[in-house]
Amino acid sequence: MRYSKASEPGPALGHQHLRRALGWSAIVTLALTAWWGLLISPPDVVQGQLVRILYLHPAVATMCYAGFGLCTLASLAWLWSRTRSRRWDRLAVAGAEVGSVFCLVTLVTGSIWGRATWGVWWTWDPRLTLTAILFAMSLGYLALRRSIDNSHARSVASSVVALLMALTVVVDHYATSWWNSLHQGTTLWKPDPTVHGWQLATMLLSFLAFGLLTAWVVLHRYQLEVLEDRYEQEGTQVALAARRSEAASPGLAGPGQPGPSGPGSDLTGAATRDEPSTAKTPSELGAR
């Protein structure tokens, strides 16, 4: 029966093995990072024990960039008519959300590191200012997505904001070399990295761990978007079907007189409201 479709478990969402493997790898490498970073890796000549946040902050900041980078690439793929597909839009929102969370964590961990080494929680230097702007832009991106009902208009507008965010990411990355800054410059992403031994190994491990975590969360967020699409589509179908069956039923003489199928005027109300989830299927009603 058509009505019962929405309450049945749907077909399996793909990538279950991949997601499981990514999740476990992320947990194991994160635990290993914590062990190496806190116990194995030696202190630093200048920063002493404070250096240990090096195994958290740069990796998180890079994953913030990666999230927004993914959002931008997916938005570009969506904007190009030849590759336009709803899946790019899903990937864009997944990247943006994950990027936003990592951006917030970057600001928080950076602030803690800054208080310990610089002596201040915050200062308006180019890197910090641009990261704060980037975070504000990402919140704007997410708010924009929720404020536009039409899915096409929503995707166009958010893709444009994604391109602006990509520009900010590039400028943010080069901020410490383009302008005078309190924030230190690049350590790892240069031909001759200025970190070695256990410190380098732990730092690389942290990048791997947070990379796996990011991939895992992005994949989950993507699947959630797939589910939301299905919920929206099937919820509307259920409401429409219920309404049509009501129209076809002989008991339509007035309110409070449901036909043999039994949904009553409750379903009529649900069909015109925004929440298809309130539509009760005949099987649900019959069960009470």
Binding site: P43, G48, L50, T123, Q184, R243, L252, G254, Q257, R288
Partner: protein
């Protein structure tokens, strides 16, 4: 909930004529724009564009202001000395490397910073981080008071290079970092008048 309850639900109103028509086979329009009770605050496209333009302009102005300040985050010792007549008592940030001879007097910290072959005497009320010591680059917020830089905030810079410390040296580095004022006892004390900008 019993079947009797379902027959007379308290919530939705009775079907009106339009709803009857829709129920009897006319296609339903479920688009957001067709939903009742949703009125756009800014009705016309022109109004929306204007509101957007005003918001963008305001945001752009704030960004430009904030970024201009951020892009000129500090002056080097050389720049600050060269611009001293222009700067007057204006607050700005100066960057240089702390030289040996840090002295504490009450809440005030006396030391000098150097950069570009010049040095500047500093008196500061700011409490620096544990990394503050001679040889560390710092960014100081404050203003000129004659030839002395009066600062109320010390920010210690650290480079992007990391070097593993052998166990003993690391302990030593931590000790020095935790107690930077020990430096004053080991080296000649230098007051603000001792080294003026040259």
């Amino acid at each position: 909930m019993t079947t009797a309850d379902l027959r007379d639900p308290p919530g939705p109103p009775a079907l009106n004529g339009q709803a009857h028509q829709a129920a009897l086979g006319a296609p339903l329009d479920l688009r957001a724009s067709a939903r009742p009770g949703r009125r756009r605050v800014l009705a016309s496209r022109r109004q929306r564009l204007m509101a957007g333009a005003v918001l963008l302009a305001a945001l752009g102005y704030l960004l430009a202001q904030g970024l201009t300040d951020a892009m000129n985050y500090y002056l080097t010792v050389k720049q600050a000395v060269a611009q001293r007549p222009v700067l007057g008592n204006k607050d700005f940030r100066i960057q240089g490397t702390v030289v040996r001879g840090i002295r504490q007097q009450g809440r005030d910290l006396y030391f000098s910073i150097t950069g570009g072959g010049l040095s500047v005497a500093v008196v500061s009320t700011g409490s620096p981080s544990q990394l503050f010591r001679a040889g560390m680059p710092v960014v100081l917020a404050g203003h000129w008071s004659g030839t002395v830089f009066e600062s109320d905030q010390i920010m210690v810079q650290h480079g992007s290079s990391y070097v593993e410390a052998p166990a003993r040296k690391a302990a030593g580095a931590r000790k020095a970092a935790v107690a930077p004022k020990e430096d004053a006892g080991q080296t000649a004390a230098v007051g603000p008048e001792g080294r003026s900008a040259s």
